[in-house]
C-alpha cells in the first residue's frame, strides 16, 4: 500500500506542478473553481425546489445529476478523442495480477476530471439540504460502475484476449445495465443492491479480461491512431452514414426539445426570465455555434487527416481541441450564469438548456467534422472561421420552431423531430453541393 500511496501522492503533486506547466495548471485550477461554483449553483437550485416552481422534485434532480455525470464519464473516454488506458504497473513488475489491477484502477481515478467531479459532488452534497450521504454513496457507486464499464471497452479496443468469447462480457453487461434502466427507470440509481451487483460483476469481468490478455494491440501511439481509424467500434460510429444520420437527428431533436421549453416562459409572461432566456438562446448559441460548429467542423477533420499522415499524437490533438473550447466556453459560461445568478432567475431549465445546447453543438461539430477535410486558417480568428449564413440559419430556425410549436408538448415533439430531420438534410445537402461556401470562409 505504501508504494500505491507514494505513486498517488507523486501524481497529485504533478497535476499541480505550476512550474512545469503553468498554463495547464491554471486551467485545471480554473476548472476546479468552476466545479465548486457549479456545486454551489446546483445545491442552491436543489434547496429552492420546494419554494420555487420547478418541474423536478429534489429526488429527481439528484438522480438526473448522477445520470448526467455517468454519461459524461463514459463519453469522455472516447470523445472528442479516444483516451488510451494508462498502465501504471507494467506486466513485468513483480506484483500479483489482482493487486496490479487495483493499483492501476486507483491510479486512473487520480486525474483532473475525477478530482473535479469529487469537488463538484463534495460541494453539492455539503450544501444540499437532503440526504447527502446517500447522494455521495450513489454517485461514487455509479461513477465507479461506469468507469469499469468504460475500462472494459478500452481493454477490448487496445488488447487482444486469449479467447474471443470474452467479448461477450461487455455486451452482456451493457445490455443488463440498459435493461435495468428500462425496467426501473431513473430510480435504478437508488437501488444499491443492483448497483453493488453491477460493481462486483464489472470488477470480476475487468480482472478476468486483464488476466486473459495475450498482447497489446497498441505498440506505439502512431499505431494506436491507425488502429483507431480501422477499429470496428470507431468505424461503426463514424463510418456508418445511417447511424450518423440517426445520431445527428436525435441530437438535434434533443436540442430543439430543450428550446421548446421557451414556450413555458412565453406563456407565463415571465419577461425578465424571457430576456435572460434570450441570453441562453441567442448569445450562447451564436458563440458556441460559431466556434464549436464552424471551427470543429474543419479543425477536427484536418487534424485527423494530418495526424493520420504524420502520426501526431492524440494528446496534441486533444490539447488543441481543448484550446478551442476553453477560450469561448469559459467566458460564455461565466457571463451567462453570473447574469442569471445575480438576477435570481437561475433555474434548472436554464442550466439544462445551456449545458444541453453546448454539449449537443459540440457533438454535432465533432460528428460533422468527419464529413469533409477542411483547412482552418487560424484557430481563434473570429472573422475567418465565422459563417454569417450558418449562424443566421440556426437562429431563424430556432426562433421559428419556438413560435410554431407554441401549441402543445406533443405537437412540439412532432415538429421538433421533423424539423431536425429537415435541418439536418438541408445542411447535409448544402454541404454536399456547395460545401466551401456555407459554413466557413476558409475555403474561399
Amino acid at each position: 500500500m505504501g508504494i500505491l500511496a507514494y505513486l498517488l501522492i507523486l501524481r497529485l503533486k504533478r497535476i499541480f506542478d505550476i512550474k512545469a506547466h503553468p498554463v495547464k495548471t491554471i486551467s485545471i485550477i480554473l476548472a476546479f473553481i468552476f466545479a465548486v461554483f457549479y456545486g454551489v449553483l446546483f445545491s442552491s437550485i436543489y434547496n429552492s425546489i420546494d419554494t420555487k416552481k420547478i418541474y423536478l422534485s429534489k429526488h429527481e434532480l439528484e438522480l438526473y445529476l448522477i445520470l448526467t455525470l455517468m454519461i459524461i464519464t463514459l463519453i469522455r473516454g472516447f470523445f472528442p478523442s479516444y483516451q488510451p488506458i494508462k498502465i501504471f504497473i507494467p506486466q513485468n513488475f513483480p506484483v500479483s495480477k489482482v493487486k496490479k489491477f487495483f493499483y492501476n484502477l486507483l491510479n486512473e481515478f487520480v486525474c483532473p476530471y475525477y478530482l473535479g467531479l469529487i469537488l463538484f459532488t463534495g460541494t453539492f452534497s455539503i450544501l444540499m439540504k437532503g440526504e447527502r450521504f446517500i447522494f455521495i454513496i450513489n454517485t461514487s457507486l455509479w461513477i465507479t460502475i461506469i468507469h469499469l464499464f468504460k475500462r472494459i471497452l478500452q481493454l477490448f479496443i487496445e488488447f487482444r484476449t486469449r479467447k474471443s468469447i470474452i467479448l461477450i462480457i461487455p455486451f452482456v453487461t451493457g445490455v443488463f445495465i440498459l435493461l435495468s434502466f428500462l425496467y426501473f427507470g431513473i430510480n435504478l440509481i437508488n437501488n444499491n443492491l443492483i448497483a453493488s451487483i453491477f460493481l462486483l460483476a464489472l470488477l470480476i469481468s475487468n480482472i478476468v479480461i486483464e488476466k486473459s490478455i495475450v498482447e497489446s494491440k497498441q505498440k506505439t501511439m502512431k499505431d494506436m491512431v491507425r488502429k483507431q481509424l480501422t477499429n470496428p467500434v470507431v468505424k461503426i460510429i463514424i463510418g456508418n452514414s445511417k447511424l450518423r444520420t440517426i445520431l445527428i437527428s436525435s441530437l438535434l431533436v434533443k436540442f430543439l426539445l430543450v428550446l421548446t421549453n421557451a414556450n413555458m416562459l412565453l406563456k407565463s409572461n415571465d419577461l425578465p426570465g424571457f430576456y435572460l432566456y434570450l441570453v441562453n438562446l441567442f448569445l450562447s448559441p451564436v458563440i458556441l455555434f460559431t466556434y464549436i460548429f464552424n471551427n470543429t467542423f474543419g479543425y477536427l477533420r484536418s487534424m485527423w487527416l494530418t495526424m493520420n499522415k504524420a502520426g501526431v499524437s492524440l494528446i496534441y490533438y486533444s490539447k488543441n481541441i481543448f484550446k478551442i473550447y476553453l477560450v469561448m466556453i469559459l467566458p460564455d459560461a461565466i457571463i451567462t450564469f453570473l447574469l442569471e445568478y445575480f438576477f435570481n432567475l437561475l433555474s434548472f431549465e436554464y442550466i439544462l438548456i445551456y449545458v444541453t445546447s453546448g454539449f449537443v453543438l459540440l457533438i454535432i461539430g465533432i460528428v460533422n467534422s468527419f464529413y469533409f477535410p477542411k483547412k482552418i486558417e487560424s484557430l481563434f480568428s473570429f472573422r475567418n472561421n465565422t459563417s454569417l449564413r450558418a449562424n443566421l440559419i440556426s437562429i431563424i430556425t430556432v426562433t421559428l420552431i419556438i413560435f410554431i410549436t407554441n401549441i402543445s408538448i406533443i405537437f412540439s415533439l412532432f415538429v421538433s423531430i421533423s424539423g431536425s430531420i429537415v435541418i439536418y438534410n438541408f445542411f447535409r445537402n448544402r454541404i454536399l453541393r456547395n460545401r466551401y461556401k456555407i459554413f466557413s470562409a476558409v475555403y474561399r
Binding site: Y6, R14, V95
Partner: protein, 250 residues
C-alpha cells in the same frame, strides 16, 4: 540459466515463432539477431510476459511463469520496445517508485539511483526533470536504469542501443560486460552489429520464424575468419545481392 522450450507464436495467419528452442547459459550475454519482423521483439516480449505464447514454455532457473510468476519477475529486469514510463513523474521519482516496488531499502535505493544517474546521465540533476521532457535517448537510458536498479539475475533487453548516442552506447557496453557475473544472464536483441560484437558471448539468429544459428560468438565468426556482418548475411537464407533491381537510380 534460461531455457526456451518449443515456443511458438502466430499472429492470425502469420507464423512468427515456430518451435523455438534456446538455452541461455549463466554468465553470458546472449544476442538475438535477425531481419526486421523476424520475431525478435515477440520472443523478448514472451520472455518478459508482455505477451503469451501459443505453445511452449520458458524456464528461468527451472521456474516457469505458471508456477513462479512473481519469483521470476522479482529477479528479472526488462528493457522493452514499449514505453512503460510514467511520463508525468520525474526520472528520479520514477526510479524511486520502481525501487520501492522491488523492496530496495531507502538508503540503498538513493545510492543506486544517484550512481546510475551519474554513470548514464553525468549528473543527478539531469533525471530530476519530468520524463515528458526527456529525449528518446534519455528515456531509453532511464528505462535501462529502471531495469537494472534491483540487480536482476535475468536481464532482457530489446534493442538497447537504439536511440543512444555513441557515448551512451559505449557506457552501456561497459556496464553489460561487467554485469555478466554471479550467474546472471543477459538476453538482448539488436541490429547494431558493431556493438553486438563488443558484448556478445553467444549469438542466435532468427530467420523465417526459426532459429537458424545458435552458438558462441567465436563459432558464429568461424573462429575469427569472418567479420560479424559477413557471418550474419551468409546465414540468412534469402539474402542475395539485388542491387540490379534499382539500377535506374544510378
Amino acid at each position: 540459466m534460461i531455457v526456451i522450450s518449443k515456443v511458438s507464436k502466430n499472429y492470425s495467419v502469420k507464423k512468427v515463432l515456430d518451435n523455438i528452442n534456446i538455452t541461455v547459459p549463466q554468465n553470458s550475454i546472449y544476442c538475438l539477431l535477425g531481419k526486421n519482423g523476424a520475431g525478435k521483439t515477440t520472443l523478448i516480449n514472451i520472455m518478459s510476459d508482455f505477451i503469451k505464447p501459443d505453445a511452449g514454455e520458458i524456464f528461468f532457473d527451472n521456474m516457469n511463469y505458471n508456477a513462479n510468476e512473481l519469483e521470476i519477475k522479482r529477479n528479472m529486469g526488462v528493457l522493452s520496445e514499449a514505453n512503460y514510463l510514467i511520463e508525468e513523474l520525474t526520472g528520479y521519482e520514477y526510479l524511486t517508485f520502481v525501487g520501492k516496488l522491488y523492496g530496495i531499502p531507502k538508503k540503498e535505493l538513493k545510492n543506486r539511483i544517484e550512481s546510475l544517474a551519474v554513470y548514464f546521465f553525468e549528473s543527478v540533476e539531469e533525471i530530476k526533470k519530468v520524463i515528458t521532457h526527456f529525449s528518446t535517448g534519455m528515456k531509453k537510458k532511464l528505462m535501462f536504469c529502471s531495469a537494472v536498479i534491483h540487480k536482476p539475475r535475468f536481464l532482457l533487453l530489446d534493442e538497447p542501443f537504439e536511440g543512444l548516442d555513441p557515448v551512451a552506447s559505449n557506457l552501456l557496453i561497459e556496464f553489460l560486460n561487467r554485469y555478466k557475473i554471479n550467474s546472471r544472464v543477459i538476453f538482448l536483441s539488436s541490429h547494431n552489429l558493431d556493438y553486438i560484437e563488443k558484448v556478445a558471448t553467444h549469438i542466435a539468429v532468427l530467420d523465417n520464424s526459426k532459429i537458424i544459428f545458435d552458438g558462441t560468438l567465436s563459432l558464429f565468426l568461424d573462429n575469427g575468419t569472418k567479420n560479424i556482418d559477413e557471418s550474419l548475411l551468409s546465414k540468412l537464407n534469402d539474402y542475395k545481392p539485388r542491387i540490379k533491381e534499382v539500377e535506374w537510380a544510378f
